[in-house]
């Protein structure tokens, strides 16, 4: 009996200490990364309840185990067996039935929390998302804007209608706590209500190929005023761009997510950088040297595998694109401006 009392007290103590330990580390209430959406509040709440139960269950098993190991240890030279104790049906029923109750309670809480996360606001702002190796493109249908950054207004539900151009990707902003896979050939839906203004990143969470690690685009939660300003700017930029060939080329580039693999600042990504690309001489992986001109660019867009620059992945990671001659000319015009 004395053993049970001691273990009982130790279990309670350890439960409290474990939970406090988790809390000090910021894990019990999930303090990092910062919680930035309405949905994350419900998720973190459920997480916190689970941490309480886990702290208790941890103590319930580990404490009697350690206690037995210390107190019921075979002493030196002792050869006797332990007490002959075959089992106890009542106990077995108790530790089967009580967990079943816990399961039902947590399944209920989990279902309720899922309901909170998926709650639909009919006023939600719709944005289309296209995922492709290795970038995200965001389209605002109301304004005709295409962007590689996701800007969303704070305290308003946004619904992202997402599809993929190639393989499966997954949309995850850790601060929002939710993720949703993006599947080719269909639209999946991601609802989020940001509650904290700030700069975040969408990080692709489903392995999608060589540069999966770098499939991160900016997600910016703006105040309503900043959001309206940004929209107005983008509308203006799009209008101006459509007037010149290089502007139209730039729009095509944005729409097709080219900069996911081709940097504009000289950094090496999945494909060669576009900084100073026009007229540059490149060594190909077959040893030949090619000066990058209109013909090479057109060929590379339509058939990326025709000539691959040395040290880059072969076969090429780039999909073949279908463009009209005029569109290709516009893209080339844009590339010429990248000095």
């Amino acid at each position: 009996m004395q053993h049970f009392v001691v273990v009982g007290i130790l279990v309670i103590l350890t439960t409290v200490l474990t939970y406090l330990g988790l809390d000090v580390a910021g894990l019990a209430k999930h303090q990092h990364p910062v919680s930035a959406s309405l949905q994350s509040i419900s998720i973190d709440q459920l997480w916190n309840w689970e941490m309480m139960v886990i702290s208790f269950l941890f103590s319930l098993i580990i404490v009697p185990m350690l206690y037995s190991l210390i107190v019921f240890r075979q002493k030196k030279g002792e050869l006797e067996d332990g007490e002959h104790m075959e089992g106890n049906a009542t106990l077995e029923v108790v530790w089967t039935v009580v967990p079943i109750f816990l399961v039902v309670i947590f399944a209920y809480l989990g279902g309720k929390s899922l309901g909170d996360v998926r709650r639909v606001d009919p006023q939600a702002v719709t944005i289309f998302v296209k995922a492709q190796q290795f970038t995200w493109t965001f389209e605002y249908p109301e304004y005709g804007i295409i962007s590689s950054e996701l800007h969303i207004p704070v305290n308003k539900q946004v619904v992202l209608k997402m599809t993929s151009a190639d393989v499966i990707h997954s949309f995850w902003v850790p601060e929002f706590r939710i993720k949703q896979d993006v599947v080719p050939g269909r639209y999946t839906e991601y609802r989020v209500t940001p509650i904290l203004v700030g700069d975040y990143k969408v990080r692709c969470a489903e392995l999608c190929g060589t540069s999966h690690s770098y499939m991160e685009n900016a997600v910016i939660v703006d105040t309503q005023e900043d959001y309206d300003t940004w929209i107005a700017e983008q509308v203006e930029i799009a209008k101006l761009a459509s007037l010149t060939p290089e502007g139209q080329g730039q729009l095509l580039v944005a729409r097709n997510g080219c900069t996911g693999c081709h940097s504009l600042n000289g950094t090496r990504l999945t494909g060669p950088t576009w900084l100073n690309i026009y007229g540059r001489e490149e060594e190909m992986n077959d040893g030949s040297k090619i000066v990058i001109d209109d013909a090479y660019i057109a060929e590379s867009i339509l058939d990326p595998n025709a000539h691959i620059v040395a040290t880059y992945a072969s076969p090429s990671q780039m999909p073949a694109f279908v463009f009209t001659d005029e569109e290709i000319a516009n893209i080339i015009a844009y590339l010429k401006t990248l000095k």
């Binding site: 098993i61 009697p64 104790m85 899922l114 392995l207 190929g209 999966h212």
Partner: protein, 583 residues
């Protein structure tokens, strides 16, 4: 592709495992004892039909693959020690792959090689122990048993060859469309797993028949050693579910080879369908991995606690409970996949339900230890380590099961930490325990106790650091399967610690390997019942003779009646009373 298939078949015929079958088909009789002229280690390199030899062969190839998979892990773990790419850079070109591609290949192969290693390790323990525990002379189908083993050799070679054939970058799950467009290494990966599946299915069939048909006289179901229960449960899963991963992989192979659009949306296919097929095996598969390990824990715990296994029936039934529930939880891997949304709730219920039979095991183990006379030689240390580590895996499970929390945790390092906990606790620790425990039975010598303890005390704390660290970085935003991470996440120092812990585990396993091979020749002699066990195999001298027991066994008591005097589990039937024995 064809080369791999052809190579596998010709390897099997060439090594002679099918000789007897071909002879039978031609109407020639074969002898049973054709292996007596082999000496020492020679028999392990030849086709043997002795379940003990096959068990050891399985264990050795499992350890070899464990080493290969572990080495791969160390390579990419080193790359992850700091953000940015250090040596797997984009300029690198090895086996036709750039650094990040190589990272993906190594990471993917680490997963599948370890899984194959585990499947073979399980077959190793089951093959070695089950016939001994039930008092049989061998498995039911010794030639099929040898075939199941030898087919795993080309499977492993094909699998590893994918590294040199352009690699693949899909992770061990091989989700299309990514896997449909990956380099040719992908085909080798699918093919290797496909062949390994054969080994698993045929091996499982053999185990079930053996356990059902070849038990000693008087060994009723409720008097079977608990490990046999676990082996049956695990074999039922292997035999019924492995086909699904084979099918899923075959469909992708056909999509790649013949342009069939099973999973290609442009041709009316559905990529999510693959995930259903894949997880319908691959979830139950984790129970295939852990049930034998939990069986080892239940089997060994009473020996070192000197007390009966608490609630034998409940523990035996809980294995079946886990196996059954395990078949209806697969879609919890797909909560974010875009499958029908309402399906997530029933799968949450079924998934949480797994905790009930698993809980029964934990409570019963603790109750077994209560008021025992506990001693802690190396096998017992690994049993205890297995319980605690598996428990950490169990505790970190429910947050994945409740859907909304999983939306955050899915595809992060939290999952990676959880998974390593369940598999180390459910398989790796018990596997080491089983090796330390049955090593004297196989060799007549015991492994060095001091180095065994060094192995344990180096591995266990490092492992806790590793998995808790994984869960920690995952919670903070570390995605799984990435070669490089955003320095802004502030995870550099955590990852450095993880890498150091990884190397400590690797070192401890090397110590184990040296101890294992050194002890075969130089270990302390141990021919008697050194663990003071009640189990029949320890009642005869080690090493075990061919065809095991010289006289048939009869069960006259309970398997785990420690603490009860003069109540042995088994006795030998003397030839006079037994009449004609089987051999």
């Amino acid at each position: 592709m064809l080369g791999a298939l052809f190579g596998a078949v010709s390897f099997l015929v060439g090594c002679g495992v099918t000789d007897d079958w071909i002879k039978w088909a031609r109407g020639i009789d074969t002898s049973d004892h054709h292996e007596e002229h082999w000496h020492g280690w020679e028999k392990f390199l030849n086709v043997s039909f002795d379940h003990k030899v096959i068990g050891i062969q399985y264990t050795l190839i499992a350890l070899l693959l464990l080493g290969v998979g572990g080495t791969f892990a160390m390579i990419f773990r080193t790359e992850l020690a700091a953000s940015q790419l250090q040596f797997l850079t984009t300029d690198l070109n090895l086996f036709g792959q750039t650094g990040p591609q190589l990272f993906n290949t190594l990471m993917s192969l680490h997963g599948m090689i370890m899984i194959v290693s585990i499947l073979l390790g399980i077959s190793g323990i089951i093959n070695y122990a089950v016939p001994l525990l039930i008092g049989a002379a061998d498995m039911s189908f010794p030639r099929l048993n040898a075939f199941s083993y030898w087919i795993s050799v080309p499977a492993a070679i094909t699998l590893v060859s994918s590294l040199f054939l352009g690699g693949f970058d899909t992770g061990w799950t091989g989700y299309p469309p990514l896997s449909a467009r990956a380099p040719v290494g992908m085909q080798m990966f699918f093919m290797g797993v496909f062949i390994a599946g054969w080994s698993s299915i045929l091996g499982a069939l053999n185990v079930i028949v053996t356990a059902l048909r070849m038990r000693a006289k008087g060994m009723t179901a409720m008097k079977m050693p608990i490990f046999v229960w676990a082996s049956i449960a695990t074999s039922i899963i292997s035999m019924t579910a492995t086909q699904f991963i084979g099918l899923a992989f075959q469909l992708v192979m056909f999509q790649r080879l013949f342009g069939m659009g099973f999973f290609d949306p442009a041709k009316g296919g559905n990529p999510v369908l693959f995930q259903h097929l894949f997880w319908f095996y691959s979830h139950p598969a984790v129970y295939v991995f852990i049930l034998p390990g939990l069986g080892v824990i239940s089997e060994l715990l009473p020996v070192f606690v000197r007390k009966p296994l608490f609630g034998y029936r409940w523990v035996a039934m809980s294995s079946f409970g886990i196996a059954l529930v395990g078949f209806v939880v697969w879609a919890h891997h797909m909560f974010t996949s875009g499958m029908n949304e309402y399906l997530r709730v029933p799968f949450m219920y079924s998934t949480l339900l797994v905790s009930v039979p698993t809980g029964v095991k934990f409570f019963s183990w603790v109750a077994t230890m209560w008021k025992g006379r506990i001693s802690t030689p190396t096998p017992m240390l690994f049993v205890l380590g297995g319980i605690v580590v598996f428990f950490m895996g169990g505790l970190s499970g429910p947050p994945h099961a409740t859907v909304s929390t999983d939306l955050h945790l899915h595809d992060t390092y939290f999952v990676v930490g959880h998974f390593h906990d369940t598999i180390f606790g459910g398989f790796v620790f018990p596997f080491f325990a089983a090796i330390y425990y049955w090593f004297p039975k196989a060799t007549g010598r015991r492994m060095n106790e001091f180095w065994g303890k060094v192995h344990f005390w180096l591995m266990t704390p490092s492992f806790f650091i590793l998995t808790f660290g994984m869960m920690y970085v995952g919670l903070l935003g570390m995605r799984r399967r990435i070669a490089d991470y955003d320095p802004a996440l502030g995870l550099d120092s955590a990852h450095l610690i993880l890498t150091i812990a990884g190397f400590a585990i690797f070192t401890s396993v090397i110590i184990f390997g040296i101890n294992l091979f050194y002890s075969i020749k130089h270990g302390e002699k141990a021919e008697g019942n050194i663990w003071n066990s009640r189990s029949p195999e320890w009642q005869v001298p080690s090493p075990m003779a061919a065809h095991n027991y010289s006289k048939p066994l009869e069960v006259i008591g309970e398997p785990y009646d420690y603490g009860l005097k003069d109540a042995p589990y088994t006795r030998f039937i003397e030839p006079a009373s037994a009449g004609k024995s089987k051999h």
